[in-house]
């Protein structure tokens, strides 16, 4: 599934609606982060830099409009934003789109329709978002940055490449040979399969994963696997 690893921030103060949207998004394979008010939304966005924001306009603390402005002006982000709102007047819609929203969905909405809109917006703009997020671990391959729950993790170039390769194929077993081809495409160095094991070992150490099951799983006699869920 193409949606895998795409992270989406859902900002909505009504808990039931938030849960509903989350359920639908997760069903489509997105990684979902929730925020209850405007301030939480800004914090979450600064920490995780999601691929898309679904933003309610009437929020406590900081209104949706202010969040939108902050994201666009202060944080200078081009992240696609879908506004989710009970304001149905045409002028509100125009204002929302002018403020930099990519789409505007009015309540009451059909969740299936919202999913279709999310997909459309991401199809148009998603290529800008090549970061992958799983279980709170985000990798931005172009910048070579890795974050876990917003905390940066410093990896070497090879480790980063390896992790990206693994995360590109979540839950899929990758052989050591495949990994060697990715890391050293021109076979300029004589490497053994041991080298990969060493890299994986270091990677595990640096990720300091203390969750229930390992992020990177060793599959005996075959290779490694990134456990996405």
């Amino acid at each position: 599934m193409q949606n895998k690893g795409m992270s989406i921030l859902v900002v909505e103060d009504d808990e039931k609606i938030r849960k509903l949207v989350k359920l639908y998004l997760e069903n489509e394979g997105y990684q979902v982060l929730e925020a209850r008010d405007g301030e939480e939304a800004i914090q979450a966005f600064q920490a995780y830099d999601q691929c898309l924001i679904i933003l309610d306009l009437m929020l406590p603390k900081l209104s949706g409009e202010e969040v939108c402005k902050k994201v666009r002006v202060d944080l200078k982000s081009e992240v696609p934003i879908i506004m989710l709102t009970a304001k149905v007047e045409e002028q509100d819609l125009v204002l929302g789109l002018k403020m930099g929203a990519d789409d505007y969905v009015t309540k009451p909405f059909s969740p299936a329709e919202l999913m279709a809109r999310v997909e459309t917006v991401l199809r148009r703009t998603g290529h800008r978002c090549n970061k992958i997020t799983f279980r709170g671990l985000t990798i931005k391959p172009l910048r070579g940055e890795v974050h876990h729950q917003g905390e940066p993790i410093y990896l070497t170039q090879h480790e980063c490449k390896l992790l990206y390769f693994l995360m590109q194929h979540p839950n899929q077993i990758l052989t050591r040979e495949q990994m060697m081809d990715t890391l050293y495409p021109h076979q300029e160095k004589v490497v053994t399969e041991r080298t990969i094991d060493v890299h994986i070992g270091k990677l595990r150490e640096k990720l300091k994963w203390d969750g229930e099951h390992d992020l990177i799983e060793t599959v005996r006699g075959m290779g490694y696997r990134f456990v996405a869920y």
Binding site: I17, L20, P60, S63, P111
Partner: protein, 364 residues
């Protein structure tokens, strides 16, 4: 209209001049007839000349009167015409700009009244539009939940569970509550309280009943309640007063942060004042002015966690003002005192005595 008036008036003037002229002429002829030195022919000639002059002057008077009248009446009728076209505009649903009040006579008064009427109509329309918008807005969130979850259930994204049904039921109850309060508000607005449907009520019994009905809720919430109620007789409607107490207490409980609520009732002058004080969620000063407005929510996100509809206090205000009293909010730090007054016994409701529209009552 204009022409009819001109012709009638000009005719009247012509007739008056004609009558006056004829009598003068007849008298002159009589005098001439009696004069011995004037012959018969001369006398006839004199009479004909006079007759001729009389016709001429009557016709001239008719013309002059008509012309003068035309200009005079046109000026007089112009504001009336403008008023007419504005009224037609109003009937078609447009709101004409205010007409200039040029004179201080009946026409000027009428124009001023008309301006006032048009302004009032525009305000009402504005209010109605806002109200419909607000209702639609308030309905959107619960409807999103009901529709969304039903769709998810049908699509198999979520599986039904008692908790889910419970939560959906809450949403539909929210809609029901909104509709119910709207209905109440409508009923109270249409109701014109008069002496015939008011009874003498012992305020302390109303408060006692209220205390009894809230005892369990307060107990479950673990809130302390302090009552100090003076006995007094007021003119009122029992159900209305209970509704007011009910709404104020529900609010105090819903937005409570301090764990206590104090209810005081005492006679202040000609009024009986009830004050419900609690330590609640903060309300900023500029928002405190609007708490009695319909659909006004202190929390701008209109969050439904608290379950309010934004109509409770509007209803309080409506009922209290129908009784000839006033409702108000007094803020002291984080203590909020919602109070209302009801005239004691002898007062006739409907007559708004002492600022009936007061929105703030200073608390002693």
């Amino acid at each position: 209209m204009l022409w009819k008036l001109i012709i009638v008036n000009a005719l009247m003037i012509a007739i008056t001049i004609w009558l006056a002229g004829v009598s003068v002429k007849e008298f002159a002829c009589l005098l001439v007839d009696q004069y011995p030195y004037i012959g018969r022919e001369e006398s006839v000639h004199f009479s004909e000349t006079l007759q001729y002059f009389l016709f001429q002057s009557s016709f001239l008077a008719f013309l002059v009167a008509g012309i003068l009248h035309y200009f005079f009446m046109r000026n007089l009728l112009r504001p009336l015409k403008r008023l007419g076209s504005s009224a037609r505009q109003l009937a078609e649903g447009e709101y004409p700009p205010a007409l200039p009040v040029v004179s201080r006579d009946e026409f000027g008064q009428l124009t001023a009244d008309f301006n006032h009427l048009s302004q009032k109509l525009e305000q009402m329309e504005e209010m109605r539009k806002r109200m419909v918008g607000d209702i639609a807005h308030e309905l959107r969130t619960p409807l999103t939940n009901v529709n969304g979850y039903l769709e998810a259930l049908r699509a198999g994204i979520v599986t039904g569970s008692p908790e889910l049904y419970q939560s959906l039921h809450e949403e539909s109850l929210r809609i029901t509550r909104l509709v119910e309060q709207l209905h109440q508000l409508n009923v109270w607005e249409a109701k014109k309280l008069s002496r015939t449907n008011l009874q003498q009520i012992e305020m302390e019994t109303v408060m006692e009943e209220c205390k009894e009905s809230f005892r369990l809720v307060l107990q479950n919430k673990g809130m302390r309640d302090i009552w100090s109620v003076q006995a007094a007789q007021v003119w009122g409607e029992r159900d209305g007063l209970k509704q007011v107490m009910d709404n104020l207490l529900s609010n105090a409980i819903r937005y409570d942060t301090g764990g206590w609520v104090r209810i005081e009732g005492s006679a202040v002058g000609d009024y009986y004042q009830v004050t419900v004080t609690n330590q609640g969620q903060p309300i900023s000063a500029d928002r405190a002015k609007h708490v009695f407005d319909r659909f006004y929510r202190v929390d701008s996100s209109r969050s439904k966690d608290t379950g309010g509809t934004g109509l409770g206090l509007a209803l309080v205000k409506e009922i209290v003002e129908q009784h000839g009293g006033a409702a108000g909010l007094n803020v002291d730090g984080d203590e909020y005192s919602f109070s209302f007054t009801i005239p004691i016994d002898k007062h006739i409701p409907g007559k708004k005595e002492g600022g009936g529209n007061r929105t703030s009552i200073s608390n002693s």
